[in-house]
């Protein structure tokens, strides 16, 4: 259980997908103007990322069986795009209120590299856990699956956390007396750099 918790915290904080890699910076900068849009994007991305990573994890078993692992990137892109289409369709049909709050962010997720990154990472759990100095303490395929799930949830929540914090900062910065040349994305990127230092250097060693 401790290893599971450590993996969750590492994926969310010290190996945060926006601050340490960085991936998903386009939507991180674009959808962080308000807290409301950040929350919507975060939830939508978390849901799609977890679903897509489960499908890609299982699909990869098939690709390995047929000796066509080199097709993984193309196949995963198609899986992510399809998942987004079906999720959007189901939400439109069965939960219009949910669609109103987060459905409009779903097309943005198709091109978000965070989802593809998670899918590419979870296919080789031994390498992933080894790289983070963790082991599959549960054991076997079931253990791999649980760790895969935890990693994809942690990474997606890490993106959500980064996006939300940044949206709060940007809302505050809108009212701050910033020189014209620094306003907007410029000061945002400066804040991101400081947050990256906090996340990467300040939190490392805790987990």
């Amino acid at each position: 259980m401790l290893e599971v918790f450590k993996l969750l915290m590492i994926a969310m904080l010290t190996s945060n997908v926006v601050f340490s890699l960085p991936y998903g910076v386009c939507s991180y900068l674009g959808v962080s103007k308000s807290k409301k849009s950040a929350v919507g994007m975060g939830f939508a991305l978390t849901f799609v990322a977890v679903l897509a990573s489960i499908i890609c994890y299982l699909l990869n078993k098939l690709l390995v069986l047929w000796n066509i692992e080199y097709m993984s990137t193309l196949c995963f892109i198609l899986v992510v795009a399809s998942v987004v289409q079906f999720v959007e369709m189901f939400i439109k049909k069965f939960s219009p209120s949910l669609y109103k709050s987060l459905g409009i962010y779903l097309p943005l997720i198709t091109t978000n590299c965070v989802v593809l990154y998670i899918c590419k990472q979870v296919v080789d759990m031994d390498a992933l856990l080894g790289g983070l100095s963790l082991t599959n303490s549960i054991g076997g395929e079931f253990g791999d699956f649980i760790f895969m799930l935890v990693y994809s949830i942690g990474t997606a929540l890490g993106f959500f956390l980064a996006l939300y914090i940044f949206s709060v900062l940007r809302e505050r910065l809108q009212n701050a007396p910033i020189p014209k040349g620094f306003s907007g994305v410029a000061v945002g990127l400066l804040c991101t750099a400081i947050m990256a230092m906090i996340f990467m250097n300040g939190l490392v060693g805790i987990f």
């Binding site: 386009c26 900068l29 674009g30 959808v31 103007k33 849009s37 098939l62 690709l63 047929w66 000796n67 066509i68 080199y70 097709m71 193309l74 196949c75 198609l78 899986v79 795009a81 399809s82 289409q85 079906f86 959007e88 369709m89 439109k92 049909k93 219009p96 209120s97 669609y99 109103k100 459905g103 409009i104 962010y105 097309p107 943005l108 994305v185």
Partner: protein, 63 residues
């Protein structure tokens, strides 16, 4: 054999995507939904949320 499997799996996934896209297009958007995310952060004019698209078109017309 591997090539056939590779082409086959891509064809299947592409078909699933196309079916999903067409079905999604058929389902009407709920009332009261606007595509109103204001995003000005990149120059990707293909993106439907990019408000810069209108500015780019205006600049082209002026020239």
């Amino acid at each position: 054999m591997e090539i056939i499997a590779a082409i086959g799996i891509v064809a299947v996934l592409l078909t699933i995507f196309i079916i999903g896209y067409l079905l999604n297009k058929k389902v009407a958007k709920p009332e009261g939904c606007d595509d109103d995310i204001e995003c000005l952060e990149c120059k990707n004019t293909f993106c439907k949320f990019n408000k810069n698209k209108d500015d780019a078109a205006d600049n082209k017309e002026e020239k």
